[in-house]
C-alpha cells in the first residue's frame, strides 16, 4: 500500500536520469479483454520492461480516443467490467509490484458519478499514483487537483501542440508527476504518427522546470520512442499500438502475451 512519503514518479525519473534512459509507458484498457487476462497482460508489461503504467477505465463515450481504444473499451464493457473491477485489477498488480508508478487515464463522468473525493480516495487506496482525465482541461481542473492533493495523487495535465506559450507555462506549473505532451493533434491511434515539432514543445516545457514531459499519441514503434527521447522528452507512452496486439491476438492468449512481451522489450530498448 502507498504511504504518504512515496513518490514513485520522482523516484523513477531520478533513476532513469542516472542511467541515462527514457521511460517507456504502455497503456492498456483495464478489463480488456476480460478481468483475469487483463491482470496477466499488465504483469507481462511490467515484467518486460515497462517503466510505468497508464491504465484506462472503459467508458461508453470516449471522445478523445480513436477506434482502437474505443473497441478496447467496448470489449471490457461487454465483459461487464465496472469501476470496482478496474480497482481490483490495479490492486492485484500493485500487490506484486510495489514500486512501479501506476497512472489512470479516464473520462470525467466516471469520477463525477461516485463523487470526486470518493473516486480519488479509492484510487489512493489501491495504490494509484496519478490520474489524467482526458476531458478535463486545466480550466476545469481545480476540484480534481484539490482531491488529488488531499489523497496524495498526482494530477496529470495534457500539453497540446497548439497551446500558446502562456498556456504551456500554466500547464507546466499545474501538472504534477509528469506532463503528458501530445505528439500531434487528433485522437489516439496509430493511423498517424507524431508530427508536431515535439523538440520545440519539449524544450519549452523543460524551460518551465515543471514535471518531466512524456510524449503520447502516435507512438507505435521503437523509432518513435527514440525520436521522442532525442527530442527532449523524459519518456513515451504507447496506447493504441499496445492495445492492437491484444485485439489482433484475442484467439490465442499465450501468443498475445508473448507479443506484448516482445513489443515492450523492443520499445524499452529504444529508450536506452
Amino acid at each position: 500500500m502507498q504511504t504518504s512519503s512515496t513518490d514513485r514518479y520522482a523516484q523513477l525519473f531520478d533513476d532513469l536520469k542516472t542511467k541515462q534512459q527514457g521511460a517507456f509507458v504502455p497503456f492498456v484498457m483495464l478489463g480488456d479483454p476480460d478481468k483475469q487476462t487483463s491482470i496477466e497482460i499488465i504483469l507481462t508489461l511490467v515484467e518486460n520492461g515497462a517503466d510505468a503504467l497508464e491504465l484506462g477505465f472503459p467508458f461508453s463515450d470516449p471522445i478523445a480516443d480513436g477506434p482502437t481504444i474505443q473497441k478496447a473499451a467496448i470489449r471490457a464493457l461487454d465483459q461487464g467490467i465496472r469501476p470496482d473491477d478496474c480497482f481490483e485489477i490495479i490492486a492485484a498488480v500493485r500487490e506484486k509490484h510495489a514500486d512501479i508508478p501506476i497512472g489512470l487515464l479516464l473520462y470525467s463522468n466516471l469520477v463525477m458519478k461516485p463523487g470526486i473525493e470518493a473516486f480519488y480516495a479509492k484510487a489512493a487506496q489501491v495504490g494509484v499514483d496519478s490520474i489524467l482525465l482526458a476531458d478535463v482541461p486545466l480550466r476545469e481542473s481545480a476540484p480534481f487537483r484539490d482531491a488529488a492533493v488531499k489523497y496524495n495523487i498526482k494530477q496529470i495535465l495534457i500539453a497540446p501542440p497548439n497551446a500558446s506559450d502562456d498556456a504551456l507555462a500554466d500547464i507546466a506549473a499545474a501538472s504534477d508527476g509528469y506532463i503528458y505532451l501530445l505528439g500531434r493533434a487528433g485522437v489516439t491511434g496509430t493511423e498517424s504518427t507524431a508530427t508536431t515539432p515535439v523538440a520545440e514543445l519539449a524544450a519549452k516545457l523543460n524551460q518551465h522546470k515543471g514535471a518531466p514531459a512524456v510524449i503520447g499519441f502516435g507512438i507505435s514503434k521503437p523509432e518513435h520512442v527514440s525520436a521522442a527521447i532525442k527530442a527532449g522528452a523524459a519518456g513515451a507512452i504507447a496506447g493504441s499500438a499496445t492495445v492492437n496486439l491484444i485485439h489482433d491476438n484475442l484467439g490465442d492468449k499465450q501468443l498475445m502475451l508473448q507479443k506484448l512481451a516482445d513489443f515492450t522489450q523492443a520499445m524499452k530498448a529504444a529508450t536506452l
Binding site: F59, S60, D61, P62, I63, A64, D65, G66, P67, Q70, I74, L77, R82, P83, Y107, S108, N109, L110, V111, M112, K113, P114, A134, D135, V136, P137, L138, R139, E140, L157, I158, A159, P160, P161, N162, A163, S164, D166, A167, D170, I171, L182, A185, G186, V187
Partner: protein, 394 residues
C-alpha cells in the same frame, strides 16, 4: 487562461473537453463576441434570416384545437421557416461565424438529419464544405434526409461505433474536430456541448422569443402566461425562452420526451431522471447508469432522442425559473394527429410533445389563460414513420 463570457449556468455547463480543443473554443468565443458587436455581421445575419429563411415567422391563434373557452392558444410557426424547422436560424449564424474565422470546412452531427439538412443548406449558400456525421442506423432510417444533404453538396459520413445514433455522431464529430480545428468549424446543432456553444446557439435563436413578445403584445396587449417548448438538447426552447427569462410573469415550460414512460428506460427525459454528470463537454442532467456510463435515450421523435439536456435548462430547472414536464410517444402522436385534423397543420413529432403538454395545461385551466407553443418544425419528415406506427407495423 479564462473565458471572456460566463462559461457556466450556475453549476452547469463548462468546457469538459480535451485540452487540445480549448484554443478552438476560445477562438470561437472571441469570434462570436466580435460578431455580436459588428453591425456588418448583424446586418448580414438579419438579412439572411429575413430574405432567405423567411423571418419573422407568424404567430397563429388556434381556432378549433382548444375546447376550454378560458384558454387562448397561439403557435409560433417555426415550421414555416426555410428548412422546415427553427434550426435554420442558428445554422446561418454559425456558418457566418465560420467564414469570419477564415475556416472553409464545417463539421456537424445529426440524428434524424434535420440539423444536418440545415447545415447543408447554409453551407451550400455560403460556399462552405460540410461533412456531416450520422449514426449508421440513422442513415438507414432517414434515407430522404441523407439524400437532401447530399443533394446540397454535403458529405454524409455514417458512424458505426457505439450505438450508431446521435450521441455517437457527436463523439465522432468531436474526434474529427480535434484533428481539423485549424480549417474546420464544428457547427454543433443544439444548445448543449461545451462553452461557448450553449450561449451561441441561444443567442442565434433568441429572435424566436423576441418576435413572440412583439406579436403577442400586438394581438393580445399582454404577455403570455406560459410559453411551452419541447426539449431534446433544448435549442428551440432556449430560443423562445431567452427573451422572457427576465419577465417573471411569463411561465416557461419545457417538455421532455417520456418515450414509452420515464419508468421504462425507454425515454429521453434527462431532467426528469434528476441525475447530473458530464457528457459532450458540459456538466448537466444526463442519462447514465450507476457507474456513470452514458445510457441510450429513446423517443419516437428522433430530434428529442438525446441522453442529455443543454446546461442552461438544467440551471433554469434548479432555480425554478422554468418547469420541465414530459410527454409520452403516444401523447405526442395524438397531438400530432389532432393539430392536423383541427387546424390543418402537420407538426413535427418533436413539436407535438410541446403541443401535447400545452393541451393538458389548457384542459386544466380554471381562469383566463394565454399560452404560446413553439411549433418548432413541420411534420412532413415524420409522415412515413407515423403512418407505419398508426398501421401498427412499428
Amino acid at each position: 487562461m479564462s473565458n471572456k463570457l460566463e462559461s457556466k449556468f450556475g453549476q452547469y455547463g463548462g468546457m469538459y473537453v480535451p485540452e487540445l480543443l480549448i484554443p478552438a473554443l476560445d477562438q470561437l468565443e472571441q469570434a462570436f463576441i466580435d460578431a455580436q458587436n459588428d453591425p456588418e455581421f448583424q446586418a448580414e445575419f438579419i438579412g439572411l434570416l429575413k430574405d432567405y429563411a423567411g423571418r419573422p415567422t407568424p404567430l397563429t391563434k388556434v381556432r378549433n384545437l382548444v375546447s376550454n373557452p378560458l384558454v387562448t392558444m397561439y403557435l409560433k410557426r417555426e415550421d414555416l421557416l426555410h428548412g422546415g424547422a427553427h434550426k435554420t436560424n442558428q445554422v446561418l449564424g454559425q456558418a457566418l461565424l465560420t467564414k469570419r474565422m477564415g475556416k472553409t470546412h464545417v463539421i456537424a452531427e445529426t440524428g434524424a438529419g434535420q440539423h444536418g439538412t440545415a447545415t447543408a443548406l447554409a453551407c451550400a449558400l455560403l460556399g462552405l464544405k460540410a461533412r456531416i456525421y450520422m449514426g449508421a442506423k440513422d442513415v438507414e432510417r432517414q434515407a430522404p434526409n441523407v439524400f437532401r444533404m447530399r443533394l446540397m453538396g454535403a458529405e454524409v459520413i455514417p458512424v458505426d461505433a457505439g450505438s450508431g445514433t446521435l450521441k455517437d455522431a457527436v463523439n465522432e464529430a468531436l474526434r474529427d474536430w480535434s484533428a481539423s480545428y485549424e480549417t474546420a468549424h464544428y457547427l454543433l446543432g443544439t444548445a448543449a456541448g461545451p462553452h461557448p456553444f450553449p450561449t451561441i446557439v441561444r443567442e442565434f435563436h433568441r429572435m424566436i422569443g423576441e418576435e413572440v413578445r412583439e406579436q403577442i403584445m400586438q394581438k393580445e396587449g399582454r404577455l403570455p402566461d406560459s410559453v411551452v417548448a419541447c426539449v431534446g438538447g433544448g435549442s428551440n426552447a432556449i430560443g423562445i425562452f431567452a427573451d422572457f427569462i427576465d419577465s417573471p410573469e411569463v411561465g416557461l415550460v419545457g417538455v421532455e420526451p417520456a418515450g414509452k414512460g420515464i419508468d421504462t428506460h425507454m425515454h429521453g427525459a434527462a431532467i426528469a431522471t434528476g441525475s447530473s454528470g458530464i457528457l459532450h463537454g458540459a456538466y448537466s442532467y444526463i442519462m447514465q447508469d450507476k457507474d456513470g456510463q452514458i445510457e441510450e435515450s429513446y423517443s419516437v421523435s428522433a430530434g428529442l432522442d438525446y441522453p442529455a439536456v443543454g446546461p442552461q435548462h438544467a440551471h433554469l430547472n434548479d432555480i425554478g425559473r422554468a418547469t420541465y414536464s414530459s410527454v409520452t410517444d403516444d401523447e405526442a402522436l395524438e397531438a400530432f394527429q389532432l393539430l392536423a385534423k383541427k387546424e390543418g397543420i402537420i407538426p413535427a413529432l418533436e413539436s407535438s410533445h410541446a403541443l401535447a403538454h400545452a393541451l393538458k395545461m389548457a384542459e386544466a385551466a380554471d381562469k383566463e389563460t394565454l399560452i404560446v407553443v413553439n411549433l418548432s418544425g413541420r411534420g412532413d419528415k415524420d409522415i412515413d414513420h407515423v403512418q407505419k406506427i398508426l398501421k401498427g407495423d412499428n
